[in-house]
């Protein structure tokens, strides 16, 4: 009788475990904010988080190097090479982060 019910419940449980909602973006946001370089002047312009990664747009007055040095990818994330666009004295930095082990 035990085996019968186990078989029934296993057959019902397998699909539920196989199909899950995506990763929790709130946790990713929390880890990003915890590692944000708040002491270096910068102006966040956009932030996108989803199952494939994070995209961050930041503007920096003058040299973006101090910000890039201070920014560290949160644990469990890897940072790709930043994209820089300079207009006048302002540089827009676009950062792309992916979950560790994920392929671009």
């Amino acid at each position: 009788v035990l085996s019968l019910e186990l078989r029934t419940l296993r057959s019902a449980a397998l699909p539920a475990s196989a199909i899950r909602a995506g990763p929790d973006a709130a946790l990713a946001l929390s880890s990003l904010l915890a590692s944000w370089p708040g002491r270096v002047p910068n102006k966040p312009q956009s932030l996108m988080l989803n199952g494939s990664g994070m995209t961050i747009g930041v503007t920096v007055e003058g040299d973006p190097a101090p910000f890039l040095r201070a920014f560290k990818a949160p644990a469990g994330w890897t940072q790709e090479e930043p994209h820089l666009n300079t207009a006048g004295s302002v540089t827009r930095v676009n950062l792309q982060l992916r979950p560790a082990g994920a392929t671009p």
């Binding site: 035990l2 029934t8 296993r10 019902a12 539920a16 199909i19 929790d24 932030l47 199952g51």
Partner: protein, 198 residues
Amino acid sequence: VSRLIGPAWVAVIAGGVAAVAITGRFATRSRSAAATAQSELALVAKEAQELVTLRAAAASPAARHASAGLAQRVGAALTRAGLPASCLSSLSPEAHSVVAMTDGQPRLTRQRATLVLTSLTLPQLGAFLDAWRSGEPEWTVTGLDVSPAAGGSAVQSTGGDLPLRVVLALESVSVEEPVPESLSPVSSLLRTTSRGHP
């Protein structure tokens, strides 16, 4: 008398050896039976534990249908986070996508929704996410798009008071037909067992 001592010792020794042999044989059988019983006990205990886990999973809130009243859920989360209802810019639930199941299995459905909040600060966003996470565990925030709200003050170009526009992607997976109680022939046995072993 001295002639009888030798055969007597031989008889005693033979009897002792026979007794040891017989009891040793029984001991070997008993040890084997005990090992079998122990392995069966371990298997049954493992299956019983798995059964309890599976039954709990089948009855968990995540297994219930979670999509009903999404607007009310969002409104309640805004209230718990101390945010005004005017922060809610739009809520767009998508149609259920049914995951194909074989006969006899519960039907799994996935639902997504897009929620847009505006004119809230970063700490307020954190409060909302906290309220949503604790109050609606069956809904996961799978995507976030944060940007400065249009028309924000030029002075507040940065910092925690900057009004934001946030687009949240929500997703839930639910079971349409939970496993009925009638399919649980050992439920009474489990209840008896759980009373005996809290």
